[in-house]
C-alpha cells in the first residue's frame, strides 16, 4: 500500500495526524510530513479512515 498526499489540496487540518500520528505529522511550520509512505497492508482500515476523514480529501491510497 502506498500513501500519496496531494499537497496542493492539503491544508494541514491534522485530522490524519490525530488518527495515525506514526504516519502523518503536522509540524510547527504548519506543513504535513508523511512519515511512512508505505504502511503495512494490515494498517489499511486506519489509512482509509485517514483518507475519508480528511476535510480536503487530499490523501490517496494507491494499491
Amino acid at each position: 500500500m502506498k500513501i500519496v498526499v496531494d499537497f496542493d489540496l492539503c491544508e494541514s487540518n491534522a485530522v490524519c495526524m490525530q488518527i495515525a500520528p506514526d504516519v502523518f505529522e503536522v509540524r510547527d511550520d504548519d506543513f504535513l510530513y508523511l512519515l511512512n509512505e508505505n504502511p503495512d497492508e494490515s494498517d489499511r482500515e486506519r489509512m482509509e479512515e485517514c483518507a475519508q476523514r480528511c476535510p480536503k480529501q487530499a490523501i490517496l491510497i494507491e494499491d
Partner: protein, 400 residues
C-alpha cells in the same frame, strides 16, 4: 437477528459512508441507497468555497470514485424522495413506490431555512446543494452590483468571503452583535468581524432583516429592521437549517428536532439515524445533540450502519468529540468539543492580535473544548486530550 437487507434513506455523506461501512464489515445482503437529488453523491464543503469561486467544477467533488462506488454493489435510487414510513408494517413510501424494509438507516439531512415570501423571488438564494451552488454561481458570473448575505453564520461568512474573493461588493447582515458570536463567543466573534471588515465586507450586525423588495419579480433591496436599505440584486440567505423529518410524521418513530435515537443511534429495532437529521444523547458530554458538522456525518454514518449488524447487548454508545472547520479568506477556524459562555478559558498558544491561536475550554475541571484559528495541529492534539478525558489542569500544563 442480523439484517438481510438494509435501506439507507439519504445519499449524501452520512448515507454513503454508512453503505461503505456495511460492506467493510462484510455485510453481503442487499443495500438500497435512496437520494432525492439527481446527482451522484458529492461532498458539500467545497460548494461554498472552490465551486462557488468558480475554481472547481462539479466533477471534482464526488464522494467516492466511480469504480469504488460501483464495487459497493448498491441498488442506487437517485432522484427519489422518501415520502412516508410506517414502523408497524415497516413500509417505506417513496416517490417511486412502496418498499418493505428489513433494516434502515435514516440519513435525510436538513434543508435551509428561508425568509417567508421569498421562495419565488428571482435573485434570492440559499446554499446547500450542488444545484443551489451552480444557480448562485451563474448569477455571480453575471457580475451583480452587490450581494447581500443574510445571516453571518458559517455558510453566510464563507459565501461572503468567496464573493469578496471574486471582487464583488458584499453586505453581510446579522441580528447578533458579531458574526459567529453565538457559537464562538463575542470576543472571537469580534475578531472575525474585523477579518471581514478588513476584506471589504460591509458588515451590518445587531440588525435584522425586515423584508426583501423586488421589481418585476427580481429582488432589488433588503430593508433592515432599523429602516436602512441595502440595494442588492443577489441575496443569499444563510439562517440555519431544518432537519428533514416531515416524511416520518406519524411513522411511530419519535421526532423532536430530528429523529430521536438512543445512545447507540438506534431509533427503533433495526432502524438507526445519522448525520444532520439525528438526535441522540452523547454520554461524553451528558448532552442530547443534533450535530450538523461534516465529520460527524461520517463517523455517525459508520456507527449507525455498524449498529445494525450487532445485537443490542454488543452495541456501543456513540460518544464522539464533535469537530468542525470553516475557511474564510486565509483564516482556518476549527473547533472541537462543546464550548459555552461560562467555561474556564486558557489561551494555550498564539494570540488574538496575530489571529493565530488555540483557546482551551474547561468545565467542572475537565477539558471540554478547543477553539483554534490557524492552529490546526494544536486543535487536533487537544481534541485527542478531550477524547482521553483529560482534566483542564493537565491540558493547560501540556506542552503541545
Amino acid at each position: 437477528m442480523a439484517a438481510q437487507s438494509i435501506h439507507i434513506v439519504g445519499a449524501s455523506l452520512a448515507g454513503v459512508r454508512a453503505a461503505e461501512a456495511l460492506r467493510r464489515r462484510e455485510f453481503d445482503g442487499r443495500i438500497v441507497l435512496i437520494g432525492d437529488e439527481p446527482h451522484r453523491p458529492y461532498d458539500r464543503p467545497p460548494l461554498s468555497k472552490q465551486v462557488l469561486a468558480g475554481d472547481w467544477d462539479a466533477d471534482r467533488i464526488e464522494l467516492t470514485k466511480p469504480e469504488k462506488f460501483a464495487a459497493l454493489d448498491l441498488e442506487l435510487r437517485l432522484g427519489v424522495r422518501a415520502t412516508g414510513f410506517d414502523l408497524a408494517t415497516r413500509t417505506l413510501s417513496t416517490s417511486d413506490g412502496d418498499d418493505i424494509v428489513d433494516a434502515m438507516v435514516i440519513a435525510t439531512g436538513a434543508r435551509c431555512r428561508t425568509l417567508p415570501g421569498t421562495d419565488d423571488m428571482a435573485g434570492v438564494h440559499v446554499l446547500r446543494t450542488l444545484d443551489h451552488t451552480l444557480a448562485l454561481r451563474a448569477e455571480l458570473d453575471a457580475g451583480p452590483s452587490r450581494v447581500a448575505v443574510v445571516g453571518a453564520g458559517f455558510i453566510g461568512a464563507e459565501v461572503a468571503a468567496t464573493c469578496r474573493g471574486r471582487g464583488l461588493d458584499v453586505t453581510m447582515i446579522d441580528p447578533m452583535p458579531t458574526p459567529l458570536g453565538r457559537v464562538l463567543g463575542e470576543e472571537i466573534g469580534s475578531l472575525m468581524a474585523d477579518v471581514h471588515l478588513e476584506h471589504g465586507v460591509d458588515l451590518r450586525t445587531g440588525v435584522g432583516v425586515d423584508r426583501l423588495e423586488a421589481e418585476g419579480g427580481h429582488v432589488t433591496r433588503v430593508v433592515l429592521s432599523d429602516g436602512a436599505v441595502v440595494e442588492a440584486d443577489v441575496v443569499v440567505i444563510g439562517i440555519g437549517v431544518i432537519p428533514n423529518t416531515e416524511w416520518l410524521e406519524g411513522s411511530g418513530l419519535t421526532i423532536d428536532n430530528g429523529v430521536v435515537c438512543d445512545a447507540t443511534m438506534l431509533a427503533a429495532p433495526g432502524i438507526t439515524a445519522a448525520g444532520d437529521v439525528a438526535r441522540w444523547p452523547n454520554g461524553r458530554f451528558d448532552e442530547v445533540m443534533r450535530i450538523e458538522h461534516w465529520d460527524n456525518a461520517i463517523e455517525q454514518g459508520v456507527h449507525a450502519a455498524e449498529r445494525l449488524l450487532v445485537d443490542d447487548a454488543d452495541a456501543l454508545p456513540f460518544e464522539p468529540v464533535p469537530w468542525f472547520w470553516s475557511d474564510q479568506y486565509d483564516r482556518k477556524l476549527q473547533m472541537a468539543g462543546r464550548i459555552g459562555p461560562a467555561d474556564d478559558i486558557h489561551l494555550a498558544t498564539g494570540s488574538f492580535e496575530e489571529r493565530r491561536f488555540a483557546q482551551l475550554h474547561g468545565r467542572d475541571g475537565r477539558l471540554v473544548g478547543v477553539l483554534g484559528l490557524n492552529r490546526p495541529r494544536h486543535v487536533m492534539q487537544y481534541k485527542t486530550m478531550i477524547q482521553n478525558g483529560a482534566s483542564f489542569e493537565d491540558a493547560v500544563a501540556a506542552e503541545i
